[in-house]
Amino acid sequence: MFKILKKEKLAPLVFGFEIEAPEIARKAKPGQFVVLRIDELGERIPLTIYDFNEKNSSISLIFQEVGKTTRQLASLSRGDFIGDVVGPLGKPSEIKNFGTVVCVAGGVGAAVIFPIARALKKAGNRVITILGARNKELLILEKELSSISDDFFITTDDGSKGKCGVCTDILEGLIEGGQEINRVIAVGPAIMMKFVCETTRPHGIKMIVSLNSIMVDGTGMCGSCRVTVGGETKFCCVDGPEFDGHLVDFDELMNRQKMYLEEENTSLKEHEAKELKKGKCGCKRDK
């Protein structure tokens, strides 16, 4: 059992948890994730380790409510327990002094990119961060990211904050403006990562993406997370989650992410019905 030490609401539908997990905290490196299962009936879902504190023996996770499991997770409070948390899983990010690195984050991708960007900064890189979201309310980790970035840009689809448009606009501007870029790292929805890759491809800039395929065990045992990279099948959980973005078959990834759309809806509806029956609205805490 893993105790929730702290809970924070970062944006509508986005929460941060600090969880007691000394063994994971001791080993975690930027780019790695955990797989958790709330209780006996639960499914196993992957979440990135946003931060780790060896002294506090805790890890932090940031997640967005998108379906049944994340909704149920959001209903937990400080002091509650999560049944199973395993990690750190996946290969850590490659952290070196590359020169100038542009970190592009879309939505909760900000949570994945923060520990990577921070480590890159510490390794001596010039870090340029582009943070994108649909609107101002959905921007997370603005302060944290800007504090470790040499240059920091915000884009929103509706222009409610920063530049109106998508993050690739800024990236294109930087490239065209003659900014030397040694590496670009993008994390966010698959479609956004695909477009970032298309932006850097003609310029031959090294491109890293962190993929979010559907997973079960997270230890290379099932193959649920397979992705095609450079024409070869890779397992996202053990070979990744980071890959050379120019080699990733994003259309396949997006297709595979839709595999359980129907079942996910059923699951969420059942969960909502249960919440209603309990007389709770389900928007805050139903415990």
Binding site: G87, L89, D217, C222, G223, Y260
Partner: protein, 465 residues
């Protein structure tokens, strides 16, 4: 004379099973097992051969004549104790051992008729003990003050841990998943091996004194060298051969195409057959194609059927004769209505809008024998045919899981990528031993138990000298 003999040996007592029609619609255990009278009657067929040829076929050398004669006398408690001297997981082995190739193959009775039903009798006494709730513990040696870490809670790890605990060592099992049992928990389906049975046998290992820590991936959460610095004196690796193989033909990543490991893990470990009560989803196909001919393929096909498939096709590139699956499982699968398509192999998977719709297959014939002695399938050009499919399950075997091996480059591997062990189960790393599928490639539960037990003795020698 010969005729007389045949008459004097009564026929094997049949075991009650759920009917094929009934069981194809539920996940309950197929085999209902013997009752006490049936068990006594079957046990009484044993000739108590002096040389006990049956024991030669058992990798852990269960004293078969003795436990069988105790059943014949009706002393079931003593019978299970006798088995447990050698085999700590009898309710599991009685169910899943390929007895026809092991103990029962060598039984003298088989020369004149059907061999003694050793597996069924083992299952009977193990179930009898579990249901009675009176589980007796064997004597343990006094504490040695030595600590052993066992990695993986499959049959190899469980057996090794159980025996080490009996020898007085302090044992901790580390398991990557949230549940222990390895393939017994995530792979073999409920209808063949009920999970309550697995849990109870694991409880027995815990009662012997072994502690199990789940959710710990050695090589990620903790390194082997850290275990030594934390005070463990030896390490046993029983991590299994858990990396699924794929066919590498076009269309394999279409939605609806599963590895058997994923399909069975969703169904068994995550209980997806009870979705939406359990959160983990699984695709319920109407037309399901399973590729392969082993136990894993049979389990996948029969699981798909129970999830409501109309047609389940089993595609195998050799003939039924070469199928590595247990005869009984092939028989059960056929009775339940699995459609065998032998001498054929997938050429490509065809999809519409990203979802599998059909498998393009090609026929094969048997050619010259390969290294394994089995005749190699040869493709018959121009013999393509289509099978409709909305779910495909690939069950063509597994390889060594890389997670631990990548983290410990100082452990040498053999040519096939499995851990290389010397005769005494030692790896190339000081104090580290290994057994089970991670050293042999996919094998059987009882072989994994056998290696785990022998390794426990070797570890004991290592610790006490």
């Amino acid at each position: 004379m010969k005729k007389n003999n045949q008459r004097s040996i009564p026929k094997r007592v049949p075991m009650r099973e759920q009917s094929a029609k009934e069981r194809a619609l539920n996940f309950n255990e197929v085999a209902l097992g013997y009752g006490p009278e049936e068990a006594v009657a079957e046990a009484s067929r044993c000739l108590q051969c002096k040389s006990a040829p049956c024991m030669r076929g058992c990798p852990v050398e269960v004293d078969i004549p003795s436990f069988v004669s105790l059943i014949a006398e009706g002393d079931f408690d003593a019978a299970i104790k006798k088995i447990k001297e050698k085999n700590c997981l009898p309710a599991i082995c009685g169910r899943v051992c390929p007895q026809e190739n092991q103990c029962e193959k060598f039984c003298t009775l088989s020369k004149k008729g059907e061999p003694l039903a050793i597996g069924r009798l083992e299952k009977f006494v193990a179930d009898h003990e579990r249901e009675s709730g009176k589980i007796s513990l064997p004597k343990k040696k006094g504490p040695t003050n030595k600590k052993v870490a066992v990695i993986g809670s499959g049959p190899a790890g469980l057996a090794c841990a159980g025996d080490l605990a009996k020898l007085g060592h302090s044992v901790t099992i580390f398991e990557a998943l949230h549940k222990s049992g390895g393939v017994l928990a995530y792979g073999i389906p409920e209808f063949r091996l009920p999970k309550t049975v697995v849990e109870k046998e694991i409880d027995f290992i815990k009662k012997l004194g072994a502690e199990i820590k789940t959710n710990i991936v050695i090589g990620k959460t903790k390194m082997i060298d850290e275990l030594f610095s934390e005070g463990y004196d030896a390490v046993f690796l029983g991590t299994g051969a858990g990396l699924p193989r794929f066919l590498r033909v076009p269309g394999e990543n279409l939605n609806g195409v599963y590895s058997a490991n994923e399909f069975l893990t969703r169904a068994n470990l995550m209980k997806a057959y009870l979705f939406p009560k359990y959160d983990t989803p699984i695709k319920r196909g109407e037309n399901v194609v399973v590729v392969g001919g082993g136990n894993v393929a049979m389990d996948s096909a029969r699981t798909a059927l129970r999830l409501g498939a109309k047609n389940v096709y089993l595609l195998y590139r050799r003939t039924e004769e070469e199928m590595p699956a247990r005869r009984e499982e092939v028989q059960h699968a056929k009775e339940e209505g699995i459609k065998f398509r032998i001498l054929a192999t997938p050429k490509r998977f065809i999809g519409v809008d990203g979802w599998i719709t059909a498998v393009e297959c090609i026929k094969t014939r048997l050619g010259e024998p390969d290294e394994s002695g089995r005749r190699k399938p040869v493709i018959k050009e121009g013999s393509d045919f289509l099978l409709p499919a909305d779910v495909v399950i690939i069950a063509i075997g597994t390889m060594a899981n890389p997670v631990l091996l990548e983290a410990t480059p100082d452990i040498e591997l053999n040519g096939k990528g499995y851990i290389a062990v010397k005769k005494n189960f030692r790896t190339s790393k000081e104090g580290v031993f290994a057994g089970g599928d991670i050293t042999t490639g996919s094998a059987t539960v009882i072989l994994a138990i056998g290696t785990g037990k022998t390794a426990a003795l070797e570890i004991n020698n290592y610790l006490l000298t």
